[in-house]
Symmetry: C2
Subunit: 168 residues, 2 copies
DNA sequence: CTTGGAATGTCAACAAGGCTGACATAAAGT
DNA sequence: ACTTTATGTCAGCCTTGTTGACATTCCAAG
């Protein structure tokens, strides 16, 4: 349990002590629970789970995306994604169009019903995020995002950045 | 999809736009993956999962905690926790002692082997957190924790704060 | 042109870890 | 004595991960 972070007596490296790091770890754990709580409630009422939310979110974010692209964003196996996608398609929330250039590919779109659910989910999630942001102010929000970005795996950061570029 | 955050033309409320909120949401998603990636790798090698990690973490954090307390921290059912706890006890990583004052309670402790695994897991997780913290500096870290705390459900924040008090 | 390999997506079966419900036991509390 | 609390266990279900097998499509080398 030795403190490997700060070489004692140093200026402002006290934020790197094991204790501070553990605070960060536990904050992530408890906050993520809150982060998913509202959508989870909405979804379970409708017989869906978090996996459906993720698919819906990223299809909405990049309409026409292929299954393969979604796969690499979500980091699950194609079989796992396929099951979720299957139910969303069968329930008429997602439309899957065979690619025109490459007929092996399926391009994914939200239907109107899909967009309705997406909006319901993201509104709930944004409300919590907005409330948190408002409580702490813009500087804290900048720090929040900086830490999160620095914590991502590099290939996840790639996806994150690509979405940023497309979205703005 | 209207921007409910900033009443347009306002001073510095632009950090509350739907777009900024969505950035925060996606940052949480991708960062949480990184956050759990290293422990997940270690655990799956040993035939354990994230549920075991959570139990080990909080038993280490509050040695002698009761099953009931752990239950409310983790937010799962006793059946679900029991399954995980059973394997940890059988594998000699956790010890369950009958309470002295109240003999209905079981007090949970890590064995030496349990502490070894805990240390391996938390070291990996701290390393990533430390690297992120170091990259962005102390002010960003403060903001990071402020947002996370504001995002927690109040009963989770209760647990978070209680751990803080005990730990310092 | 054909044919073999790579890419893409689907189906089937299994495992982990959530959940509910029912029930047992022991210890406290009234 | 009776009730409540803390814990454990059995059975069964669901979501969402996994692997393996397979079909389709595309492309490039022969």
């Amino acid at each position: 349990m030795a403190d490997t972070g700060a070489p004692a007596g140093n200026e402002t490296l006290l934020f790197l002590t094991d204790d501070q790091l553990r605070k960060g770890i536990e904050a992530m754990f408890f906050a993520y629970r809150g982060f998913t709580a509202d959508p989870d409630r909405i979804l379970s009422d409708k017989g869906y789970g978090r996996a459906h939310h993720r698919a819906i979110h990223f299809i909405n974010r990049s309409p026409g995306t292929t299954v393969n692209n979604l796969l690499s964003i979500l980091g699950v196996t194609k079989q796992s994604l396929n099951r979720v996608l299957r139910t969303l398609i069968d329930d008429g929330l997602v439309e899957s169009r065979v690619g025109t250039r490459d007929k092996r590919e399926r391009h994914l779109f939200l239907t109107e019903a899909g967009e309705t659910l997406e909006s319901e989910l993201s509104t709930a999630q944004r409300n919590r995020m907005r409330s948190a942001f408002r409580q702490v102010g813009p500087e804290a929000v900048v720090g929040f995002r900086q830490v999160l970005e620095a914590m991502m795996d590099s290939d996840m950061r790639r996806h994150y950045v690509r979405l940023r570029e497309a979205g703005e």
